[in-house]
Amino acid sequence: MGILVFISVLLVAACGLIYELVAGTLASYLVGDSVFQFSTIIGTYLFAMGIGSALSRYIHGGLANRFVWIELLLGVIGGFSSALLMLAFAFTQGFELILYALVMVMGVLVGLEIPLLMRMVRDRYEFRDVIAHVLTFDYLGALGASLLFPILLVPRLGLVRSAMLFGLINAGVALWSTFLFVDQLSATRGLRLACLVVLCALGTGMAEAQQITATAEDNIYADEIIFARDTHYQHLVLTRFKDDLRLFLNSHLQFSSRDEYRYHEALVHPGLAAVPAPRRVLILGGGDGLAVREILKYPLVESITVVDLDPEMTRIFSSNPMLTKLNDRSLLSPRVHVINADAFPWVDGNADSFDFIVIDFPDPTNYSLGKLYTTAFYRAVSRHLSAQGFLVVQSTSPMFARDSFWCIAETLKQAGLETHPYHVYVPSFGEWGFVLAGRHEYKPPTSLPASLRFVSVDGLPALFQFPPDMAPLPMPANQLNSQVLVRTYENDWKDISH
């Protein structure tokens, strides 16, 4: 029977470590900053274990009964911890509070386990053997768990089910203990019944884990996060699901690799192909190099200037193999010049002229970004436009933010430009809009670069047709001193989400 007791120790230790790893990993995934998350969670957990050990001295009689209950409790709490944390992050404001409370509770329970076990078996062995064996198996269990977790559990089972699996093990140890320590137990039948209930609950949880994860992740990022960084300017998150890469800036989807070609072909070609002999192109924003990739399809273009605020953004899209594959190493082309600068002051301080200008900023979600959608900004930009040139503005969705879209069009108009709004369907975004603007009439191009997947000469005229539900609305222009667009945009999206 000796070896069976020590196997319990090993399993219990593994469970304890798994819960800790689950909490640390989840927090790193969801909040970012893994060093901070793991440090604080391990610290809190160890500290709570200390509290548990200290509390163990107040437990006098009925050690075995208490031990079984602790195992069951740990099975439930630890087993459901991962699901609970995901739901907490998705649906509540208090993720951190719940996280650390959970870590504390689990730590205290884990801290109680070993001291109780030691006391339960002390009559059977020499004291020095108890210490040596219990600790040996404790550490072995930890080693096993720490190897299993990254190699097998996370990739195969995912975080939710891994936690539940070890919850089941905890409950299994509880059930097993009712046989192992039967001589020290009272009310054994009731205990076994409780064990079965917990086992059933966790088993059901395992079966339904997919549903729980889906519910939570629908509210967070749908996919695995492969890169997350807080740059000086923004929160940058890259996710991957199979072959779909997605970039989020401050939680706003920027592109999905499955359909970004639709967006970027539509952003660039209707305008650029209509400029006779374009030589110099300017991109404001667009540090992902995807619009650049499209522009490089024009052999006449000699130089492409990319002005993006965030050096981290352009660096990642010049160096990460997954991303350079996506943008065809466009940012590394000798024709491309990357400038990391704030767009408005740069536009003001520069005197160059361009044949085509792409304005591809994040949506006007705040007053700072709103400055880049004003008559003042468009006037400043249009001074850089050559006589035959066009500029194009990503203008949010004419479907979901119809007021905002037509506000941007009106703003360009009042900045003294002739506007040609159009729209395309991008599955991951929905219906999306652009405004092409220049000082002269626009004629859709009659030829396009070869190998485009979406934009075609025949399909072009249809992009400029707006069905009644996206038709023009009379809107005021957006100005620095009014910032009507930011307020409009907020209202537009509020209407959609509620």
Binding site: Y233, L309, D342, A343, F344, P345, D348, N366, Y367, S368, L369, K371, L372, T374, T375, A376, F377, Q479, L480, N481, S482, Q483
Partner: protein, 504 residues
């Protein structure tokens, strides 16, 4: 090297102390541009050296604030450049002075001009000259960016300065009633900018009582309404409503159409206008020239500055009028010129404080604070990402007698005012001490004319405006209201008169 045990302990405790003190950021700063050491020399009327040089020049302008600079601008614009402008301090601009650090330019006093109405013809002309008004359109970059103003009250932020949170039906009713009254005054056409164009004896009675008494007569006893009216008086006149003429109180609200455009402003406030004017008239300006005596003769006037006597045909006295009795011989003492003492501070912030529930605005005010809040110099920046900034903090010492407050300004040291400012900000921005790295403070004993009861229709003031000798007065205090448009109006008017008489 062996470290002595004691030394080691010393280092250790220093390191520990360093850890504990980390929260308290060191804040540098000093008083700047103090003018009273020189100004107070005039009170003694003594110790000035006799003139060693004589310069003959047709026109001398005394004072390089907006009034003096505007007179110079008009002279140059009319092709007349045979004049000098004498400025006491090393930097011209007066209440439109500015400063500059590695982050931004920032104002030292006045920081905006309301979009001028049709009557402010000289201001419109100036703004056309400066490219602010082009083909009837105001340059968008010079209009205050949105969001413009925010007020902190009852633990939360609201947009705009007129309280809208926590109003009772009674408050609402009084605000509305007052608004209707102000609209009627506005429609009367008597409350204009510049003041002189509309001034009508029809409303002279208003000048006979205080604004707070007038409000009481209208049955306005709402606490929030009275706070707002007092805020307006402190902001424009440096005085409480009870120390302000009701005519001036009404003028604040009735002289301009309620406009949505937002005022004209620049990172360095009205310092931007000063800079543009200096580009145009800088060649005629002599700074650090303390005028200590002006004598009027039959065919002109002599201005004594430092060791030079300027013999002029005309003198435009654009310095604050209260200096006239100290500079001019046989000038009667003035009774209707009361000035409000002010303090402004420029705070360098290494980061913005956390402020939940409100976007950083151009102008921030706290309900029930004795100060006027602060203006963010980086708000007019075209950048989308701003880390550091400068806040200009305004404090009209309105409570109590001006003379006593002037004494207070003189007596208390920089650390006292620094703490007072931080205490005020800390009530709302609890982490302000971790954000601020520098506080520079400007003390102004006679910052602006106060439109006290009886001062708008004062006979003394009217006489000075109509004065027809060799010395013409031009300071904004002639209107009884210290605003940019008044200073500019009197400066331009004086220049016109001088031109007319020189050629006439």
């Amino acid at each position: 090297m062996k470290l002595a045990r004691r030394r080691f302990l010393g280092l250790g405790s220093a390191a520990l102390a360093g850890l504990f003190l980390k929260g308290d950021k060191r804040i540098e700063g000093s008083f700047v541009h103090d003018s009273f050491p020189r100004g107070h020399l005039l009170r003694g009327r003594a110790g000035f050296p006799p003139a060693k040089r004589v310069e003959k020049i047709p026109v001398v302008i005394v004072g390089g604030g907006i009034a003096g600079l505007s007179a110079a601008w008009r002279l140059r614009k009319r092709g007349f450049s045979d004049f000098v402008l004498l400025e006491m301090s090393s930097q011209p601009g007066g209440n439109a002075r500015w400063g500059q650090n590695e982050i931004t330019a920032y104002p030292w006093a006045a920081h905006y001009v309301p979009v001028p109405g049709p009557q402010a013809a000289y201001v419109r002309e100036l703004f056309e000259d400066l490219g602010v008004l082009k083909n009837g359109q105001w340059e968008e970059r010079y209009l205050a960016f949105s969001p413009q103003e925010r007020l902190f009250l009852y633990g939360r932020w609201q947009e705009g300065l007129e309280p809208v949170i926590g109003l009772t039906p009674k408050d609402r009713d009084q605000f509305e009633r007052l608004e209707n009254l102000f609209r009627e005054f506005r429609q009367s056409g008597s409350f204009t900018v510049p003041v002189e164009l509309g001034l009508s004896s029809k409303f002279q009675d208003l000048d006979g009582i205080s604004f707070s008494d007038w409000l009481r007569q209208q049955g306005c006893d709402s606490r929030l309404l009275n706070w707002y009216m007092n805020y307006a008086c402190r902001d424009d006149y440096g005085a409480l409503a009870r120390d302000t003429s009701a005519w001036a109180g009404v003028h604040y609200f009735s002289s301009r159409p309620p406009e949505e455009k937002g005022p004209l402003t620049w990172p360095e406030g009205n310092g931007w206008i000063t800079r543009r004017l200096l580009e145009r008239v800088g060649g005629n300006i002599r700074t650090s020239q303390m005028v200590h005596r002006i004598t009027e003769t039959r065919r002109g006037a002599s201005v004594f500055a430092e060791e030079t006597e300027f013999q002029a045909q005309f003198v435009i006295f654009a310095a604050p009028t209260f200096l006239a009795p100290y500079l001019l011989e046989d000038f009667p003492p003035l009774h209707d010129f009361v000035y409000s003492p002010w303090l402004t501070a420029n705070l360098t912030l290494d980061r913005y404080p956390e402020s939940r529930g409100a976007e950083p605005s151009w102008d921030t005010v706290f309900l029930d604070s004795p100060t006027l809040g602060y203006v963010d110099a980086m708000h007019q920046s075209l950048r989308t990402h701003v880390d550091r900034t400068v806040w200009t903090f305004y404090w009209a010492l309105a409570e109590g007698a001006p003379a006593e407050n002037r004494q207070l300004l003189l007596e208390k040291n920089w650390a006292y005012w620094k703490e007072a400012i931080l205490h005020d900000l800390e009530r709302v921005h609890t982490d302000i001490r971790q954000c601020v790295s520098r506080i520079d403070i400007l003390r102004m004993g006679h910052a602006m004319i106060r439109p006290a009861v009886g001062s708008i229709f004062s006979e003394e003031r009217r006489r000075l405006r109509r004065r027809n000798g060799r010395i013409l007065f031009a300071n904004s205090d002639l209107s009884g209201i210290s605003i940019f448009e008044e200073a500019q109006y009197h400066g331009v008017e004086a220049a016109q008169k001088v031109l007319g008489r020189l050629h006439g």
